[in-house]
Symmetry: C2
Subunit: 423 residues, 2 copies
């Protein structure tokens, strides 16, 4: 008999269905037992008579039974079991009580037992939403003539110099884990003009904060033949709208479960860096340097929400001192680099890049670098690179802020941080 | 003025269009110059009068001009330039003559200069086809209730023991690059039941052959609540059809350019291992062991093509000795493990996995392993895993065989092999 999902039972009242899933919870009322069966779509109550002995929670099972209406059952329907089979019985009680999931407490325990704690409906929902965001990312870019690329994660040098790189033993050579596909996506602009990549990046940062991961999913975009960084921000605005639309429509139950508050997608203002700095100093009383720290970003986010009612805020025209050497210089000390804040958290860094070989060499020197150390990076710029720019969205940070997670770790199935290498 | 792509000019005869791209090739006929402009969609001939000086090939450019019919021009149309602008002129001649691409010769040179050689139409086409195959992979699985997952590439131990792992310095710890998402996708069957991942995997293999890469794109699938490995092969059959359909429809020009011969998708027979071995021995005179080597696979592929007219061939019921410890044992020395050969090349390894804790421990011991070393792997099997199975498709090998590439390296933008770490 073909399988019915928990979310579909209302359409089968009076019929006999086959359910498959996990024993989420059980209760013995003497004459009768109640079980909750959890599958990928949700939870359904099963009425089980005393013939059947229910094993430990999390056992995997199959139930054949009749769907009946019951106003007291979760969702208004339940299944009266005629047959129950257990594929594998749990041999130990789950170290986490899945039905009681309180994922705001005791984070290290939840992460330690992630292989079972992820089964909780609230634990898994952010990952389902993230999958929808990523699907929206790809499908919007596909519709705009972009090509997906797959660039190497094992590299011979870092894109932004030597810091924060994890070293690898690559046979008899020293290699590193890519901290960004920056150079490769730029090279690929010469090939496909418009490219994107969805892949892990690796940062050997010592940070142990609620917003840092040492391995995260980077949603990278790069496009050629632009006029300026305004084209790049235009693209990102539309892209963000498409991604959130995809999540809203295809992960609706998960968004509802987590009480996702939909952000204002109508407006994403572009605040130039000097003006943002003025606001921080004069209106918010926060003296800041060229780059904004976490606190300053949070304050700007709150200010923009209060003043303009917006959740997304671009900060553009970053000064050269706060950007990497490849940021396109305006000539007045500023660059065509921008960040995108979402609810006060930086989720994107981007901008127009230098496409002229000589300018790149000049900027490298200005930053105190020896161009010889960047020979590999520089090579492609001898062959007519068009004006181009792009950005990267941190998938976990976007998910974290959309869903309202207290820590970015919960937006990744198996996070890697300063101290965590397992599970 | 909005941009027109090279592939669109036939629709604009008599109109003035703006083209953007790269100077693919130029010829000076004295009174008149011809240029070929290459963009992401193709190549168009541009007639350039002597006013304009054409720089080195590969310079990036913008051309404004009128589209006219010319039977002698490639594609039957050309653009008579009124205006030409160069965004960045190439400062050196390209080390590879892009228009003459003969990518069957001198592979090391082509790979050395991959950052420009990839611009060639024949060099980039396999990557465009691969992007379409991957898109087909995701969209078919999305339609079947699968969830995309993103698992860690930095791991504390290998999924199949300690060999072929690249070591990483992870702060004060030793870590490794994941050679497969095997355990993680199995864990996620407990969460989402049906999952897939598109991500790089890393193998520190010493091989330097035309079919090995040390970093490649693995298309991983895992599904729960199966009856047997037959369900997994059923899924893979339909999936392969959907992937090839997507490539055929959305990368049609690239398939045509490379002369892709469409494989027989109607039938993908399932040959059991003992029968395959018998054929190799008796019909093909190749004495073979439990596992089949490259030569044996090629011979079986050719045999199946000759005998049945098929391009895809499953070899099922592999013996325990040729499969990892987690392969589901039939009890008679065989397993529910299978390979899929495409034109005689193994592109998939898969099967049903063991879902019972005790059986897993027993199989580990039988293979001479100490279960204590696999404690992390075993943990999740204490919590009611359902019967499940899956497979992984090597994206580059599938692309290689579909397109007819002489070497799998050409199916990856920036390959990593035994000796190559750059570009």
């Amino acid at each position: 008999m073909s399988r019915t999902l928990a979310s579909q039972i209302a359409a089968h009242v009076g019929q006999t269905v086959t359910l498959q899933g996990f024993l989420h919870w059980k209760r013995d009322l003497g004459g009768i037992q109640f079980a909750l069966l959890r599958d990928r779509s949700g939870i359904v109550q099963v009425v089980v008579d005393k013939r059947f002995e229910l094993p430990l929670a999390e056992s995997s099972m199959r139930v054949v039974g009749e769907v009946v209406a019951n106003a007291k059952a979760p969702g208004g329907y339940e299944v009266v079991a005629q047959e129950i089979e257990f594929y594998a019985k749990a041999s130990e009680p789950s170290p986490i009580e899945i039905p009681k999931e309180e994922w705001r407490v005791n984070p290290e325990t939840l992460l330690e037992y992630r292989y079972v704690s992820l089964r909780g409906e609230k634990a898994r929902a952010p990952l389902k939403i993230q999958a929808a965001l990523v699907r929206g990312f790809r499908s919007y870019l596909d519709s705009q003539g972009f090509t997906e690329i797959f660039t190497p994660k094992i590299v011979s040098a870092g894109a932004e110099g030597g810091s924060n790189l994890f070293g690898i033993d690559y046979f008899e050579h020293r290699a590193y884990l890519a901290q960004s596909p920056q150079l490769y996506k730029q090279i690929m602009v010469g090939v496909f003009e418009r490219v994107y990549e969805v892949a892990p990046v690796f940062r050997a940062e010592q940070h142990a904060t609620s917003r840092h991961l040492n391995e995260y999913l980077s949603l990278d975009v790069e496009m050629g033949f632009i006029e300026s960084e305004q084209d790049v921000m235009d693209l990102e605005e539309e892209l963000i709208r498409a991604m959130l639309d995809e999540a809203r429509h295809t992960a609706a139950p998960e968004c509802e479960l987590l009480g996702v508050e939909w952000p204002n997608l109508a407006e994403m203002p572009r605040l130039e860096h000097p003006e943002a700095r003025r606001i921080l100093r004069e209106e918010l009383g926060m003296p800041v340097g060229a780059d904004f720290n976490e606190e300053a970003e949070r304050a700007l986010g709150a200010w923009a929400k209060e003043k303009w009612g917006v959740d997304f805020l671009f900060i553009s025209k970053y000064p050269e001192s706060a950007r990497p050497f490849y940021a396109y210089p305006e000539g007045d000390g500023s660059t065509r680099g921008f960040d995108l804040l979402f609810r006060g958290l930086e989720i994107t860094s981007g901008g127009q890049r230098i496409h002229q070989y000589e300018v790149l060499v000049e900027q490298l020197k200005k930053k105190g670098n020896d161009p010889a150390h960047f020979a590999g990076y520089l090579e492609v710029f001898k062959y007519g690179m068009p004006p181009h720019g792009g950005f990267a969205i941190g998938a976990e940070r976007l998910t974290q802020k959309l869903v309202g997670l207290p820590n970015v770790r919960y937006a990744r199935a198996f996070p890697r941080d300063r101290h965590r290498l397992t599970p």
